[in-house]
């Protein structure tokens, strides 16, 4: 992996990102509108490298690993590309077209979140700084 020392690091960063995003009222509302169970599958970077976001039924939960329920949407990519993506340095459409991101299920909910990705990236930057991982920030 280019950015991470082990498979636990990215999950720590991404869960911190979702915790910080959930604390932002606009993003919290935006995430709830997604109304789906999404599994972010980075297992190509390690067997335990994944997390889920459960935005069903007006609630927002997230955690490490694969969700217990079958996900509405699975996004499979490498942990490095996930880092680029949350940093707004990877065009998701381009990555999907080139099969760097593989999507299974319905992405209708995620489209509602797409316009907020710039804001998510700003929060991610702060999360990385707070974790003392400034060296991982993509310039």
């Amino acid at each position: 992996m280019e950015f991470w020392k082990d498979e636990a690091e990215p999950i720590k960063a991404f869960l911190a990102l979702f915790a910080a995003s959930a604390a932002d009222p606009e993003l919290f509302e935006g995430l709830k509108k997604v109304n789906q169970l999404i599994w972010f599958d980075y297992t190509e970077s390690g067997p335990n490298c994944s997390f889920y976001v459960d935005a069903r039924g007006g609630e927002l939960k997230f955690g490490a690993g694969k969700p217990a329920d079958p996900p509405d949407l699975t996004m499979s990519l490498s942990a490095d590309d996930a880092h680029r993506s949350w940093s707004d340095k990877l065009n998701p459409v381009m990555a999907i077209t080139r099969k760097k991101i593989r999507v299974k299920g319905s992405a209708t909910g995620l489209l509602k979140l797409a316009p907020k990705l710039k804001k998510v990236a700003a929060i991610y930057l702060k999360v990385l700084k707070d974790l003392g991982w400034e060296d991982k920030i993509i310039k």
């Binding site: 065009n91 459409v93 209708t108 509602k112 316009p115």
Partner: protein, 621 residues
Amino acid sequence: MNGNTGKIVNVDLTAGKMTVETLPEEYYRKYIGGSGLAAKLFWERGNFAADPLSPEAMLLFMNGPFAGLRLSGASRNSVAGCSPLTGHWGDSSCGGFFAPELRYAGFDGLILTGKAAKPSILLIVDDKVTVEDGSAYWGKGTDEVTAALKAKYGKDYRTLVIGPAAEHLVRYTMILNDGHHATGRAGFGAVMGSKNLKAIVIKATKKDMMLADPAAFDVLRKDLNVRIKDALASDVLHENGTAANLMGGVYSGDVPVKNWTSNFWEEAADALTGSTLTDNYLTRRGACAYCGIACKRYVEVKDGPYAIPDGPGPEYETIVAFGTLIGSIDLAATCKAGRVCNDLGLDSISAGGTIAWAMEAFERGDLTLTDTGGVELKWGDLDTVINRVLPMISRREGKLGELLADGSVAAAKKIGKGLDYTVHSKGLEAPMHDPRGGGHGMALTYAMSPRGACHVADPMLFVEMGARYYPEIGFDFMLEPKTGENKAEAAVMSVALGAIENSACFCQFADAEVTIPDWLALFNTVAGYGWEAKDMMAAGKRVFFLKRLINYRYGLTSADDCLTPRMLEPGKDGEAEGSQVDLEPMKARFYELMDIDPVSGIPTPAALAALGMADEAKHVA
């Protein structure tokens, strides 16, 4: 002949004479079908001196090679000829159910000339083509006529119907298939109207088709149908229609607001996006023939001023044209406006664009109450638009109806003001994608498109998003939308790919999944061309060149490959703030790469000869 039927039917409506003709296979190999084959036939036979609304004008309906072959997205057809709106080459793609029926009847195309003595209907039942009396339908809306024709002939007869606007020769009128699917752009409804032809009704009973390699095609077809249906974009389109990503468009600055004076109206994102249509008004989904995506909508607005019964719903273009473009975010109103446009037979893009221009002109005082015959035109006043302006346009009624019935450019010329804030290229009002937000490459292809500003002449809209990737032909662009960098390079391939799509009559939503090897396998298993990628790309380029040559014969040059001042202003707000299209360098590079003469705007003799177009080159020498 494999794949295509090889036959077209010529209908002279003046004489009431039908002639079936077999075309040389070479025409198909060189120009594929659809709008490419139409261009070839128009080049040879079109009367370039004829008024597009005169009996001498030719109107062509052309299928692609995959029509009726049960492949998702591949059964569209093209309608082409001289556009009464722009006065030069025009073509318009239509989904729905006409193309397979025409093919099953044994024809790849239909060419209409002349003018019937009285309102008529063209009836095609297998290879029997007759002209019937259509007087009972004249003056009526497309809804009523479609229902009446289906009641008379049978539900399984397919219909192409024009509305009252086309009878009044409004220059941006459409032809509606089965009451839902529009041949919208370039005004060909009026050409049918000028020929006294209210409708075409078709039914075929045979389905025999000769394919070069039916077994291989069947394997490919099944695989493609699964891949197309399972694609991420297809899921989104199925779920929420063509406006599924309107929200994303609002935030990128792609969705034009108030006649392109703004690129950002945040409330529109939620109010008009496809999921809002689904949640509030959708009754069911629909599809064109054999398409597994099913992006079409049926909607019902139960109450309020814009209540409409269950029926065809608006697509993205209509939602924006009768939404943000004219200063409204009332989704129910766009549903009603779309329904009214369908019934009157108006192209919703040019209608919305023309009305948006008029609203700005009114706000500026360039258009006064005297000019409009007392009709106030205010941003967002959908009541007036739906109940007064659209019906007046469709009947050329009063000063306002007459003024707006010829489109925004003609209206600006008529009042001698406001040309600088028209939004078009080559006289065709621009679709609802603003290149300042959507991507500067799209500005280039709007300017280069032979029919005028068009987002479906080629896939540049998707290319700039990152949604097209063809490594086999070196099409591997990673583009930054809001710059001109590498846009000419991408456009060179994009216009050829677009010409292939529109000649094969393949839907751009579906063919995103079709790779270059798939395209080749399709042509080779269906028509047996034995093509390699270079042959196919040459055919696409040839079609693009031929349409430019046609326009040259109409007097267009490189000076017409332009955009209006409004489109070249910097974006004022949102993500597109400060985004300004620098067209000239992109255009110069495009000409250079395509070997197009920068003055005449047509390909050099060498470029034409390289594509086997030496005869065409001689004609324009």
